[in-house]
């Protein structure tokens, strides 16, 4: 029997979407609903698991299995679900506060373990659902109800954190750019292991316009460094600018092709399997640099934790033989009283 052909509407639940008008989450929801029918996974095996925050309402709007858990713990719940049933295709939806503040420890460990999950971090650099406090990704000086004179703490960059934690698949995209996001999510999905995707997401109420420098099409050529494996790191209106590695400072720098004898041969060619390069790209920041969009890092041929768990189990079963509860209870020294 052929499975019925599904459309994006089949993945929309009957629940009224309750995000604020203009929220970047709408665009992400639509992109994912459109992606789902194109994935080679039965609908009933798709699972969305979230923590707490605006983004974590996501599962309610997907007509799949879903679990809206508690603050910061989505990855732990997802890890347990994946271990219990590796056939499930699990997406974790989380935010900058959920994944990097209260749940930072779980993000670290899910990534280093390489649990086979798609981790979508909606980064809006603010706490939305609690009405606008500074988050761990807010820029220094962010004015918010909890930081009326400007925030003092240094923000962390999600992709830098993920690479530091040992993530094997790290990508970055933008909420309203379905054309960029769709292939990235497809690759994240296909990746057997923990795939980490940071999504720049606009909060129109508490942090409006924070990503305007990169979202706005007018700035896009200058502010986006679109990554393609095997292609030189070029940007600018006519792809006239590029990223070069300065061999003396071991830093990336911007050069212009045709100036000072620079040719395309001087430009760094993107290599997704190069972790050092990925770390440098993850750290590039506006206004000094364009920001990297695409797959920063993808380490292939690494077994996922979940696969390893079951491989080990098969190995033990072959060694120890069939399990028998009554036999287990009778192991060790026993004696009979008659």
């Amino acid at each position: 029997m052929n499975a019925p052909i599904l459309s994006d509407k089949d993945f929309a639940s009957d629940q009224e979407v309750r995000w604020c008008p203009g929220c970047g989450d709408y665009a992400i929801l639509k992109t994912i609903q459109k992606l789902m029918p194109t994935l080679d996974v039965p609908k009933e095996n798709q699972v969305f698991i979230s923590g707490i925050g605006c983004s974590s309402r996501f599962p309610y709007y997907m007509n799949t299995y879903g679990f809206h858990t508690i603050h910061g713990r989505a990855l732990s719940v997802a890890t347990g679900a994946k271990i219990a049933n590796p056939d499930l295709d699990i997406w974790v939806v989380t935010g900058d506060g959920d994944a990097l503040s209260i749940g930072g420890n779980h993000t670290l460990h899910a990534l280093r373990r390489n649990v086979d999950l798609q981790i979508l971090l909606f980064n809006n650099e603010i706490y939305g659902l609690t009405k606008g406090q500074a988050s761990p990704t807010s820029k220094v000086g962010t004015h918010s109800p909890s930081t009326p004179d400007g925030s003092l703490d240094m923000p962390l960059r999600p992709c830098v954190f993920a690479l530091g934690a040992g993530a094997r698949f790290v990508a970055r995209t933008i909420d309203t750019e379905a054309k960029i996001m769709t292939p990235i999510l497809r690759r994240a999905h296909d990746y057997k292991g923990a795939s980490f995707v940071e999504i720049y997401q606009n909060c129109p109420v508490y942090n409006d316009g924070i990503f305007e420098y990169i979202k706005n099409k007018k700035n896009a050529a200058e502010s986006r460094l679109i990554l393609e494996h095997g292609k030189p790191l070029l940007f600018g209106a006519d792809n006239e600018k590029g990223i070069r590695l300065n061999s003396k400072t071991l830093k990336l720098e911007i050069v212009t092709i045709g100036e000072n004898g620079i040719t395309e041969d001087d430009i760094v060619v993107h290599d997704e399997t190069n972790k050092v390069l990925a770390q440098m790209l993850a750290g590039l920041k506006t206004p000094e640099f364009p920001e990297a969009i695409g797959v920063l890092y993808c380490e292939t041929d690494v077994p996922s934790y979940t696969d390893e768990v079951y491989q080990q189990r098969i190995f033990v079963r072959e060694k120890k033989g069939a399990a028998d509860m009554n036999a287990l209870l009778r192991t060790g020294h026993t004696w009979t009283v008659s």
Binding site: E44, T69, I70, G80, I83, H333, T334
Partner: protein, 620 residues
């Protein structure tokens, strides 16, 4: 040791029961000595109970009083349910072990000491100003001073060990001597040593040589008057196949058995914490069964992974001790809100905070009953003895899966570490309680319920047509969609409460462990106080006192007849290893003037402490 009853023709004394305590440095191998002696004692047909008592430090500085590790065993020819009140035979491997344990030795009791360890330095470190072996401070006891270290080194010389490794065999030498004293067979211990050191045969040979040398010393040396072989007659116990088990091992096996009876794979997610960690150790070694173990990054991740596993259709189980359970509290409330099965095993220890990590207490009852945000009721079950952990664990799985609820299973450090003989259960005697997952999309909502038990349906991801969402937000009574409606929240809160209270209809009525269903006094216990209360009530009843024993397994909801049962007694006494937690609940629930008897010393109740309380209440 009870009075000498008779002497047989070999001159061996017969005694009905004996308490032996091995005490030494935490690196002296006292726990290994104790467990081998326990096994030999069980094999000889005595009933027994043990109490391993060790410090939190893994290797405390040699000779320090805070580093003393002890193992106590009580064995006899009648039913033994505690590790004994007073020590008859104390083995003290050094001055620190002597000074910290002597107070528990009966007058006239036997002390075996290693004189080689009684150096000025060691005695000074233990706090002795003069040698207790010479200054008359041991005159009330029978002392057997032996230069054990020297003899051990001598006996293992043929095996070529250096001095350091040779000295380490002194626990086996001492064990050999004590085995001689109680006429124990060394075969099982020798087999254990050969197995333990199978990759280091010279170490195995040396330990066996030391064991045999200690035994030979007993046979040939001139012992002080009255020190000779004691024989303890076999206990009359139910026929069948026996083994020894600790509570922790029985609990692990019970969880596994429970998941089999439910027809579910188990996902066990935990984080190391004393004294609960051995559950993770045991289950992670049983991958041939349908169990996956997960050592999480913290307590919260552990409970959340277990909840995730239950969501996916597995039996999620997590374990910890008090402080870790506090960390899990938020997630446990989530499990009550989403109504998923979850077993939370709490091996209680002395608190608050880090408290006494290796000592026992029952001070997490309030936490189990009330320690969550919101109205988050759940069933609470307490095991009573080491072997009872098996059945208590099975029952926890049954309630969790049949009622779609988290269940807290309480044990404690005492029963987790203590071992006792176990009439090995046969799984054929247990009734299965297979879980039925929802598969029919017709009229499906995630809040469809069994109209009688109120348990909601369990529809696991992977089932076509049943796609649905669960979550922490209050849900609509009829659809399961999120709802902030005030009337609906009232209804849902009432429903969750009714479901848990209704479990009282599916658990046995409260039985009387010993005695009558009414009378002057009932001693009400829960958890590991069982043994001490049992013996105390038994002794009092032998003295014709009107006292009965009720031991509560189901702490929430209580058995449906408990209030009526307690009302039939003039006085209710509640001994607990806390400052009075069950007693408050009983007073509040049944409006009875229950009396507390509390102890929080990190040590189990002595029989005489409970006996004394019974007598003073009956005489008042």
């Amino acid at each position: 040791m009870s009075a000498v009853e008779s002497s047989d023709q070999d001159g061996a004394h017969q005694v009905s029961d004996v308490v032996v305590r091995f005490a030494g440095d935490s690196g002296d191998g006292m726990q290994l000595t104790g467990s081998n002696f326990t096994e030999a004692t069980a094999l000889s047909g005595n009933d027994l109970a043990t109490f391993p008592d060790f410090p939190a430090e893994i290797r405390a500085p040699a000779g320090a009083t805070f580093g003393v590790s002890a193992f106590q065993i009580y064995f006899g020819s009648e039913d033994v349910t505690t590790a004994g009140d007073d020590v008859d035979v104390l083995v003290a491997m050094n001055p620190a072990a002597l000074i910290t344990n002597l107070k528990d030795l009966v007058s006239g009791g036997l002390v075996i000491v290693d004189t080689d360890a009684f150096t000025d330095k060691n005695m000074g470190r233990a706090g002795y100003e003069s040698s207790p072996l010479e200054d008359g401070s041991l005159d009330a006891y029978r002392v057997v001073p032996i230069d054990i270290t020297k003899r051990v080194v001598e006996s293992v010389k043929p095996h070529g060990l250096n001095h350091k490794f040779a000295v380490r065999c002194k626990n086996m030498w001492t064990l050999g001597l004590v085995m001689w004293l109680f006429d124990r067979d060394r075969t099982a211990t020798i087999a254990n040593l050969r197995n333990k050191f199978k990759n280091k045969p010279e170490i195995a040979d040396a330990n066996v040589a030391a064991l045999n040398a200690g035994h030979a010393y007993g046979e040939t040396a001139e012992m002080p008057t009255g020190v000779e072989v004691y024989k303890v007659p076999r206990a009359e116990v139910a026929p069948g196949l026996y083994r020894n088990t600790t509570g922790s091992e029985a609990l692990a096996y019970g969880l596994l058995a429970g998941s089999q009876l439910a027809g579910l794979p188990m996902t066990f997610a935990s984080y190391p914490i004393t004294p609960a960690t051995s559950l993770l150790h045991t289950l992670s070694g049983l991958k041939q069964f349908d169990v996956v173990t997960f050592q999480a990054e913290d307590e919260i991740a552990a409970v959340c992974a277990a909840i995730g596993a239950s969501f996916a259709g597995s039996l999620g189980v997590t374990s910890s001790s008090g402080p870790g359970i506090s960390l899990k509290a938020e997630a446990i409330s989530l499990a009550t809100q989403v109504e998923l099965p979850l077993v939370i095993a709490n091996t209680q220890r002395g608190g608050p905070s880090t408290g006494l990590p290796t000592k026992t207490e029952q001070s997490d009852l309030n936490q189990a009953l009330f320690g969550r945000h919101g109205d988050a009721m759940l069933p609470v079950i307490a095991a009573a003895t080491s072997t009872d952990c098996f059945d208590a664990a099975i029952e926890s799985v049954r309630l969790a899966t049949q009622f779609m609820t988290p269940v807290i299973l309480l044990s404690d450090g005492y029963m987790a570490n203590a071992s006792e003989p176990w009439l090995v259960p046969d799984m054929a005697d247990y009734e299965a309680f297979p879980v039925t997952f929802e598969t029919n999309p017709e009229g499906f909502t995630p809040v469809n319920r069994d109209p009688v038990t109120l348990a909601r349906v369990w529809a696991k991801p992977g089932t076509p047509g049943l796609e649905h969402r669960v979550g922490g937000i209050e849900k609509n009574f009829l659809t399961g969609d999120i709802s902030y409606d005030s009337d609906n929240h009232q209804k849902m809160t009432d429903l969750r409460e009714d479901k848990i209270n209704g479990i009282a209809n599916y658990i046995p009525e409260q039985e009387v462990s010993m005695g009558e269903t009414s009378g002057k006094l009932v001693v009400v216990g829960w958890g590991s106080t069982y043994g001490a209360i049992h013996q105390a009530v038994k002794r009092c009843r032998q003295n014709n006192l009107d006292v009965s024993h009720v031991h509560i397994r189901y702490l929430n909801p209580f058995p449906r007849n408990l209030g009526d049962l307690l009302a039939g007694f003039d006085t209710v006494l509640v001994p607990e290893m806390n400052t009075g937690q069950l007693v408050d609940v009983l007073r509040a629930r049944y409006l009875i003037d229950a009396k507390p008897l509390n102890k929080v010393s990190g040590q189990p109740f002595k029989i005489r402490e409970v006996e004394g309380a019974i007598k003073s209440l009956l005489e008042a």
